[in-house]
């Protein structure tokens, strides 16, 4: 049953001498079906000196990768994702270190020059910006600065402070030239005796005068200085352009080389990562991993053909200890991948249980369609799903697996649309083949509860099967999710039916007897479990405590059966709500009139129902699946099968839960 159960795996332990380490690693990592386990903690060597060498190489490779990535960024190169065809393992990094270092130095120097030129441009531009407001003043900056008896401050200040500034300078002789500028500020030139320099600086600062801070090297007439600076900026910009052209050329001539180096370094780095996961015996290495059982023979042949010194042990999952967790590989047709995603969102299926993907792909559209039965709206959803699944719309490509889910839901909605006699909310165009939700509400609700009981029974049966797969025989027979639980659930349903139906075939006494027997089995389940496994005491905490605990657990189970069953009423309720909402759209449309407005309301109303109600129904369906269905049999917590694969792309995928 490949759709229900994960692919069978075998555990392989491979023992090989040091001389074969690289060869084995390369072969194993390129297979694409070997999932390695980290055994590095197992080291029986007397002198693990070889590890130091590997660590040194790994460090060098990491440094080279950093260097090459930086080079790529500095030269504006795109990172490449080509295959590793022709890639070679770097066993001695210094061979390429020199060449990479020299190129890196060349690029560094060029980048530094470019940066320095950029900074020079920024600095000149900033000075120019400072000087521009003063360019029309007929002063020589050098002459103003270097007077023997005069001290000057050129700058800008708030215009409304000038009067107060003059007042503050009253103690000394001074000249203050002002020229109003924008933003309530004025250019000012303050001249005073050089021996009052400190006074002038302090007073100017307290008047919020921002002095023009120009490098001492700048001199000449202010007008000349500004034009000279503009010329300098132009020259520097040309220089920058030349440097950038040079960098572009360097990039063009080395792009391929750098990309190749980087790919080789990454490849080698990953190979050494794999080596890092090997365990070490006294005189050899060993690795442990998982291989699909169907590839076992092929894998062993390959190992034997590599070298006769390679020893391997293959362990079948049926023989291995319970603590070991084989990875789970569940290949499903691409149409079911959306449903598989929904299952994985809940949890990854465990190795020793049924994969509920196929069941979900049946029950999910069924529940959705029951709640959202409409031929027209279902057709829209089915088409929308097909469009998404076709990957024709770029932004929706990532959602393509869900396209099939939507499509399946749409198709089942169409079927129920025919059964309910509903097309785009019109209830009178088609006759209801089965039932009209708005006219037979009670019957619909009872049917959905019955449907819910079928689904819950199915879940319980699956729970029994899973217990059998796990070889949990006591749980299978005595457990609340086992045969006893199922018998109790069925007998309770029987008692209810017996009370409500005149000609129910099973007598009430028989049903009560089954229920009592099931209850006793459930109460005894833990004790039987202890007996079967030889655990003592049989009644943990004493008989009274055991009995009280079991009683409350049973009580909680009964409540959960009741609430889970009633939960399915929502399926019928939503079918009624859907028809009701459609009626509202019809009423609104008829209020608008019979013209174009009528059809606009119909279209918008249908779109609203498809979008809004469709979303709510999806959430309800998911809720029923996760909490009512899955919780009865599905444990999850499996490990995903993610084998090493260095042949197809540069990434080594690691085991993740």
């Amino acid at each position: 049953m490949p759709l229900f159960q994960p692919e069978k795996m075998v555990r392989v332990e491979i023992d090989f001498p040091d001389r074969l380490r690289m060869e084995v690693t390369k072969v194993i990592s390129s297979l694409g079906y070997f999932q390695i386990e980290d055994m590095s903690m197992m080291d029986l060597r007397k002198k693990p000196s070889d590890d130091q060498k590997t660590t040194v190489i790994q460090t060098k490779l990491t440094n080279l990768e950093t260097l090459l990535t930086a080079l790529q960024a500095k030269l504006g190169l795109q990172s490449s994702r080509e295959t590793e065809k022709g890639l070679e393992l770097i066993e001695d990094p210094p061979i390429i270190e020199g060449e990479i270092g020299s190129l890196s130095e060349q690029v560094e120097n060029l980048s530094a020059k470019i940066e320095a030129t950029r900074q020079a441009i920024e600095s000149k531009k900033a000075t120019l910006k400072l000087l521009l407001p003063f360019k029309d003043l007929p002063y020589d900056l050098g002459a103003i600065r270097n007077r023997r008896y005069l001290y000057s401050i050129l700058g800008t200040m708030p215009t409304n402070r000038i009067e107060r500034f003059r007042s503050s300078l009253a103690q000394i002789p001074y000249v203050l030239l002002e020229e109003p500028r924008a933003n309530n500020r004025s250019q000012v030139l303050l001249l005073g005796p050089r021996n009052q320099r400190d006074f002038l600086i302090l007073t100017a600062r307290s008047a919020y005068l921002d002095p023009l801070e120009i490098d001492e090297s700048e001199h000449g007439l202010l007008a000349d200085m500004t034009s000279n600076l503009a010329v300098k900026v132009d020259e520097l910009e040309k220089e920058l352009k030349n440097l950038e052209t040079e960098r572009k050329q360097l990039s063009g001539s080395n792009a391929e080389k750098i990309t190749d180096w980087l790919r080789q370094v990454q490849y080698s780095s990953k190979i050494y990562d794999i080596i890092g996961k090997y365990g070490h015996l006294r005189n050899s290495n060993f690795m442990v991993g998982w291989v699909p059982a169907k590839r076992k023979a092929e894998f062993l042949d390959l190992l034997h053909s590599l070298d006769p010194d390679i020893l391997e042990t293959v362990e079948d999952t049926s023989e291995m200890e319970d603590e070991l967790t084989p990875p789970v590989s569940s290949e499903v047709p691409f149409q079911l991948r959306g449903f598989q995603k929904l299952v994985n969102t809940y949890s990854t299926p465990g190795y020793k249980e049924l994969d509920p993907t196929l069941l979900l792909s049946i029950t999910f559209p069924l529940l959705f369609g029951t709640m959202f039965g409409d031929l027209g709206q279902g057709a829209v959803l089915a088409l929308l799903g097909l469009v998404i699944a076709s990957k024709k719309i770029k932004p929706l490509r990532r959602l393509s697996p869900l396209g099939w889910v939507i499509s399946a839901c749409g198709l089942v909605s169409m079927v129920f649309g025919v059964l309910y006699g509903s097309v785009f909310g019109f209830e009178d165009l088609l006759p209801a083949v089965w039932i009209s939700p708005l006219h037979d509400i009670l019957r619909l609700l009872i049917i959905t509860i019955a449907g819910g009981a079928v689904i819950l029974s199915l879940a319980n049966i699956l729970g029994i099967v899973n217990a059998a797969i796990r070889k949990d025989w006591v749980g299978m027979i005595f457990g609340g999710k086992g045969i006893a639980g199922l018998l109790l659930y069925w007998s309770l349903i029987g008692i209810v039916l017996n009370a409500t139906m005149a000609n129910f075939p099973i007598p009430k006494a028989v049903l009560v007897a089954i229920a009592v027997a099931a209850v006793l089995m459930i109460i005894a389940s833990e004790a039987v479990h202890h007996l079967a496994e030889g655990k003592r005491p049989i009644f943990k905490g004493g008989f009274l405590l055991y009995f009280i605990t079991a009683f409350f657990e049973l009580f909680e189970m009964l409540i959960s059966y009741l609430s889970n069953s009633l939960s399915y009423v929502r399926v019928g309720a939503f079918a009624v709500a859907h028809a009701g909402l459609s009626q509202v759209v019809m009423i609104l449309a008829s209020m608008v009139g019979k013209g174009i407005g009528y059809w606009i309301v119909i279209v918008l109303g249908n779109l609203f129902i498809i979008g809004f109600e469709g979303m709510i129904v999806s959430i309800q369906t998911l809720r029923l699946e996760y909490y009512e269905f899955f919780s009865k049999f599905f444990r999850g917590g499996g490990v995903r099968y993610q084998p090493l694969s260095l042949s197809g792309n540069t990434e080594i995928r690691s085991k993740t839960k």
Binding site: P158, N160, R161, R164, F165, S167, S168, L169, Q171, N183, F199, L202, T203, R205, S206, A207, Y208, D210
Partner: protein
């Protein structure tokens, strides 16, 4: 239309609000309180009940207590604002920006000390809902430069940005804070000149008195606490008052007693020059005396020309002074000071009941 037609409604509102000021008897009761809980309990029996309604008296800190009382100021500002003629609203808004100046200074100091928003918040005047400034974000930016950048689009941004470079060079908030004050009062002064004559007549004496008080106290404090030169002090003052002249500011900057200068400018004050006190303490007494003078001017406005902007400004100032007194009481009670220690600093004169 002007006078009674324009100010009829606002005048009624202000007179009703004025009647809610604390009476001398209430002040006496508050003075007799032994602790904050008693103070809060008494205040809950006054118009401040609405500010203290949700306050848990036992856990009320002086800082939070004061912050809650200050809620009354923006509340009254809005009450008056909505009834004022449009032509005077720009001045009224500009005058109220005083609280933004206070808040900005508090925020900048908070950032400088590395305080959190929760600490700074309760040191600020209550105006969050009315302000253009993102104070919380400013404090969270933890940097004076970043905080100033956040004021973009507000009235003080340009001035603060220019001050940002000065702060960077000097690592002192002093020039920034002084610039905020000077800029604010210059704006008030400029907007005052644009008021209709009738309003200008009643508002100008009050603003003039405030500017004179500020100039004299700034000059004395910059000299005493910061040791600034005469020319710096001239630049850090406004010099717009009529009775406190530049000559007197220079004298204060040169070390002449500010009390002497005040007596010269306002002979009616007849302040006692207590040479036994330190300069700092003397300046605090002087500040209280000059503020009392402004308070009297505010009270006179109600009798002189009730249908003008003067009463609105006077009411806001009287409210501010009442809250300042209450804050002094809160801090004094929290510190357990005897009456003699804090009474001279109160603006409201308890003995006379005025």
């Amino acid at each position: 239309m002007s006078g009674a037609g324009d100010y009829g409604v606002v005048n009624v509102r202000i007179r009703a609000a004025k009647a809610q000021f604390l009476t001398s008897a209430q002040y006496q009761r508050l003075m007799q309180c032994a602790d904050l809980a008693c103070l809060a309990a008494h205040l809950k029996e006054t118009v401040y009940q609405s500010c203290l309604d949700d306050a848990e008296t036992r856990t009320l800190t002086p800082r939070k207590f004061a912050w809650k009382l200050r809620q009354r100021i923006p509340e009254k500002f809005h009450l008056i604002h909505s009834h004022l003629p449009e032509r005077v609203q720009p001045f009224y808004n500009c005058f109220f920006q005083y609280y933004d100046v206070l808040a900005l200074k508090t925020v900048l100091r908070g950032i400088r000390h590395g305080d959190s928003w929760e600490t700074v918040r309760f040191l600020m005047p209550t105006l969050e809902a009315e302000t253009l400034f993102p104070y919380e974000k400013m404090v969270e930016s933890s940097s004076i430069e970043k905080a100033i950048a956040l004021t973009k689009g507000t009235p003080f941004h340009e001035m603060l940005s220019q001050g940002s470079a000065t702060y960077k060079n000097e690592q002192s908030l002093f020039p920034l804070e002084v610039n905020l004050d000077l800029n604010y009062w210059r704006q008030v002064w400029e907007k005052l000149a644009r008021l209709p004559e009738n309003d200008q007549k009643t508002v100008a004496p009050i603003i003039n008195a405030i500017i004179e008080r500020n100039d004299l106290l700034w000059a004395a404090r910059y000299r005493y606490f910061f040791n600034l030169t005469e020319s710096e002090i001239i630049n850090y003052t406004l010099g717009l008052g009529r009775k406190i002249t530049d000559r007197q500011i220079r004298q204060a900057a040169a070390g002449r007693s500010a009390v002497e200068i005040a007596n010269e400018a306002y002979p009616e004050l007849a302040l006692e020059n207590k040479s036994t006190l330190g300069t700092g303490e003397q300046l605090s007494f002087l500040e209280a005396a000059l503020t009392r003078r402004i308070k009297r001017l505010c009270e006179l406005t109600f009798g002189k020309q009730p249908f003008s902007l003067g009463t609105s400004i006077a009411y806001l100032l009287l409210l501010e002074y009442e809250i300042q007194d209450l804050i002094i009481l809160i801090e004094a009670k929290a510190a357990g000071f005897p009456k003699e220690r804090f009474e001279p600093y109160l603006i409201h004169s308890i003995q006379s009941g005025k």
